[in-house]
């Protein structure tokens, strides 16, 4: 499989083969995840629960269950917060139904996208998108952003440790902590901005600014049914969101909320 290089480019790799999901192009999976998440977000309630359940079932089938479970655990603070806000405070309505509806929407949006990136390396998705005409500048920005996150977080942690070693108070009163903002943010941001200059020069000498399209050598699974499926998913998403927006305009009641009783 392809990997994202440090400069944000996508390194060439052998033809795509994915356990359990082989034969489905990354861009078709993206369409499936986006349409499922979009419909779950727009409709909430039982639609959202169906999308989340579908995502969980697919994860079990395709082998992304561990990452999906971690993503679900990551939602735990939100769930507890939602219950505390909506179920235990008397003012303003809400209640358990609001908390559950919010949770269902959140799961519906999060699980399909998490599953997508659990079974599809980002480099494969970017290469497939580029092969289908996505501008290489967009591919570069997406790829380079993904490659830059771990390094920048490490550097931020390093700056924090270094400033603490020099006596910066990050545990004291809030005025002291406010004063610590610039010493923490300054070196990280200025270092990154200076680095932009070096990276830009490196890209220019590699003909990044040259006109024309890059030739993408990798080939991804494609067939008539995949094209049809993608169009159907796009149509379903557009139609579903339009119908949800039209409900209140037509004076029809909103879809039923999930109730625990």
């Amino acid at each position: 499989m392809g990997v994202i290089r440090e400069d944000g480019g996508v390194a060439a790799g052998p033809a795509l083969r994915l356990a359990g999901a082989g034969g489905i192009a990354p861009v078709t999976r993206l369409a499936l995840a986006v349409s499922g998440g979009g419909l779950g977000l727009a409709w909430g309630g039982w639609v959202a629960i169906a999308v989340a359940a579908g995502g969980a079932a697919l994860a079990l089938a395709l082998g992304g269950a561990r990452r999906l479970a971690l993503a679900g655990l990551g939602l735990l603070p939100v769930v507890l917060s939602s219950l505390a806000l909506n179920a235990f405070l008397p003012a303003g309505g809400g209640g358990v139904a609001t908390a559950l509806d919010a949770l269902a929407r959140l799961l519906a949006v999060t699980l399909p996208m998490t599953l997508l990136f659990a079974v599809t390396p980002a480099a494969d998705l970017l290469a497939d998108l580029e092969a289908r005409g996505l501008d290489r500048r967009a591919v570069f920005v997406l790829g380079a952003a993904l490659a830059a996150v771990p390094g920048t977080r490490e550097r931020a942690a390093g700056v924090i440790e270094a400033q603490r070693a020099r006596g910066l108070d990050t545990e004291g009163s809030w005025p002291r902590r406010v004063r610590g903002l610039l010493p923490l943010v300054g070196p990280l941001v200025i270092g990154s901005l200076i680095e932009v200059e070096e990276r830009a020069l490196a890209l220019e000498v590699r003909a990044f600014a040259a006109p024309g399209r890059r030739t993408v050598l990798r080939r991804f699974p494609e067939g008539r049914w995949q094209r049809a499926a993608r169009w159907a998913l796009v149509g379903l998403l557009v139609g579903g969101v339009a119908a949800r927006v039209a409900l209140p305009l037509a004076g029809l009641p909103a879809p039923a909320r999930v109730r625990p009783w």
Binding site: G8, R67, L70, A71, G74, L75, V78, S81, S82, A84, L85, L89, A91, G92, G93, G94, T98, A99, A102, L106, V109, T110, M113, F117, R137, V141, L142, A144, A145, L146, A147, A148, V149, G151, T152, R153, R155, A156, A157, T170, R177, V178, L181, L184, V185, G186, L188, I190, S192, L193, I194, V196, E197, R199, A200, L203, E204, F208, A209, P211
Partner: protein, 276 residues
């Protein structure tokens, strides 16, 4: 493709990574009630223009929510990509207007511009106070909010205004830079717009919950009598202006500390380095 466009394209992923690193690592280290996840977006907007800022903001939230694995991921950030895009768009507009340019107070025109901006903010504050905070009844009539939330809303309003006044005084009398006051005004305006855009997302998509420290503020407003939408809006009107004022001031300080030759190579760079 021009060299300045290449620099903007390189800056965008760097800014996305900065947003995520600052919004997680630094925010957690200092435990301040601000998000700190839009500094890269503001810098990109100011240096690269509104479109670059908008794309950086939206990409930050989408990558943070859906692409990064746990525990780095922040699942609730996704729908707020709209807010992040608006912040980037506004930052680009402020950059085009030259609001992030350093202007020493000894220059009378710059001082007049800063004082004019501060007076404009004071006039808006006085009008808002007269209309909304004269009495609980006026508050309910003019805002449509529950009068029981009057006291907590008044406190939130006072905190934001006090923070603006303190930071503007610091900029004028300690930093002696009139440009910092203009950056603060830009931050205040950005924060107000961000709060207005975020509130319906927080209320209707997530039931008022984000999983961050702001939930405690929402809980406090709810306990004081505000409805869910009112509480999320008031939390936003408290947190977002504070956050964006600090972020814009930090962006201003960072930009004023960069060599002029570095700034001048970005599309909006000339508006940051031209003499006042």
């Amino acid at each position: 493709m021009s060299p300045s466009l290449v620099r903007t394209l390189v800056l965008m992923p760097v800014a996305v990574a900065l947003n995520i690193a600052l919004g997680s690592t630094v925010q957690q280290a200092l435990r301040l009630p601000i998000y700190m996840d839009s500094l890269g977006t503001v810098l990109t907007g100011v240096l690269g223009g509104p479109l670059a800022g908008m794309a950086t903001g939206a990409l930050t939230n989408l990558i943070w929510a859906y692409v990064l694995p746990a525990p780095l991921a922040a699942p609730t950030a996704g729908p707020f990509a709209i807010t992040a895009a608006v912040i980037g768009l506004l930052a680009g507009a402020w950059g085009r207007l030259g609001l992030f340019r350093s202007r020493p107070v000894r220059d009378l025109r710059s001082l007049a511009a800063a004082l004019g901006a501060a007076v404009a903010v004071a006039a808006v504050v006085a009008y808002t106070f007269g209309r909304a905070y004269a009495s609980p009844r006026a508050f309910a009539t003019n805002t449509g909010f529950d009068p029981r939330a009057f006291a907590s809303s008044e406190v939130a309003f006072a905190i934001v205004i006090a923070a603006f006044a303190a930071l503007a005084a610091w900029a004028l009398f300690v930093r002696r830079d009139a440009g910092a006051v203009l950056a603060l005004v830009a931050g205040l305006a950005t924060g107000l717009v961000a709060a207005l855009v975020s509130a319906p997302i927080a209320a209707f998509v997530f039931g008022g919950v984000t999983g961050f420290g702001g939930d405690l503020v929402i809980a406090a407003f709810r306990a004081a009598g505000a409805s869910l939408y009112q509480a999320t809006l008031e939390q936003g009107l408290l947190s977002d202006p504070l956050d964006k004022m600090i972020v814009c001031l930090l962006a201003f300080l960072v930009l004023s500390g960069l060599p002029r030759r570095v700034l001048a190579r970005f599309p909006n760079g000339e508006r940051l380095v031209e003499s006042g």
